[in-house]
Subunit: 221 residues, 2 copies
Amino acid sequence: MNTLYHYALSPFCRKVRLSLAEKKIEVGLVEERYWERDPDFMRRNPAGKVPVLKMDGMTMSDSAAICEYLEEAYPTPNLLPRDPKARFEARRLVGWFDDKFYHEVTAMLTGERVNRKVMGTGYPDSSNVKAGAKAIKYHLDYMAFLLEDRRWLAGNDMTLADFAAAAQLSCLDYTSDVDWNRSEAVKDWYAKIKSRPAFRSILADEVPGFTPAAHYADLDF
Amino acid sequence: MNTLYHYALSPFCRKVRLSLAEKKIEVGLVEERYWERDPDFMRRNPAGKVPVLKMDGMTMSDSAAICEYLEEAYPTPNLLPRDPKARFEARRLVGWFDDKFYHEVTAMLTGERVNRKVMGTGYPDSSNVKAGAKAIKYHLDYMAFLLEDRRWLAGNDMTLADFAAAAQLSCLDYTSDVDWNRSEAVKDWYAKIKSRPAFRSILADEVPGFTPAAHYADLDF
Ligand SMILES: N[C@@H](CCC(=O)N[C@@H](CS)C(=O)NCC(=O)O)C(=O)O
Ligand SMILES: N[C@@H](CCC(=O)N[C@@H](CS)C(=O)NCC(=O)O)C(=O)O
């Protein structure tokens, strides 16, 4: 059986869960409280980060490397286009959401609100929360700009870029940090991706002590 | 003419420079003081980060996406193995150095020492410097562990993982932050990669106001 060691509100885990589900690869989910640095976990991934995927005889870490592997070993359906330039654009946006968006927004909002409490490292740092709330506006506007002449973020087909973005936004939506009224185009895009069967398990996530936003699992939000 | 907008002591720029040079793709280097957020630069890359590569009619950003593009469009020489599992391992390590190593080590040492002065944001934060100096030991030991039964970091062939690692370490070496006596295996590995023609331009880098370590460009260090 394939196993994914994950944490529900980790966007990198969610990106991998979406890829696996879209490719219809079954996987057992095991919650990993990575901040406790359990010795078994540290042996699986000396980087001490989630996600970790046990599959095909390997113990894999790094969500970007995992998604590229899944794409090569399980190409149906494709989550990257065929043309090298179009592949570049999809990967550029994966990098945008995994690196820039995560550090500027998700870590500042969902990270501060949930992780600190769960990990017992104190109260949210209000200057971080403020910075995240400001940054998300810029990012939503950038997404709206991309969606002006594209059906999906990287072009006219759904790609890993959409999963990378939805992985971040779904964490923020759990903590009510997304203003869906800011852009019709972004809201429509999220409604489209949220209604895919691959999204179901994410919408069913519950973190003890944190009730998700009322509309979190609502397909008609 | 291809153009790379870069900053000398940015490890992500160095990784791309190494890939380009190894593939014998000529490129003009333009220094980008990215923290000044010049409007032309922000138009080229709304993420406001270096590297940015103008090539093949595109203006590309995100070093991981750029390196994958170069690998697909200019496959000689290959910097990723052929087998999906071996490719996974190379990419996992690229992620390790770009994400974990960079945040835990390079940003804490070279980042604190050079960038703060150049950008005018004050003195190095000594608790960061201390944390970086501690973390680099763990990372060098991890590299030594990998090199116990591999010729290169990801296996018996040189890959992007070696460039990702050498890109970080060469920045740290510029600021005398690497203890090469910690591991013979790591030192030998660095000597091997440092002597490649692709490394020459990096060894010639000079940041005004910061003299590199005496042995920085020395192939016999
Ligand atoms: N580059 C990694 C990043 C994963 C990551 O940062 N995960 C966070 C949880 S959202 C984590 O495990 N952090 C623990 C740590 O950095 O020590 C990936 O894409 O898998
Ligand atoms: N994921 C990006 C990271 C690049 C990056 O962080 N570059 C730094 C310089 S070493 C930068 O431009 N930082 C400016 C900023 O984050 O605003 C890549 O791989 O290209």
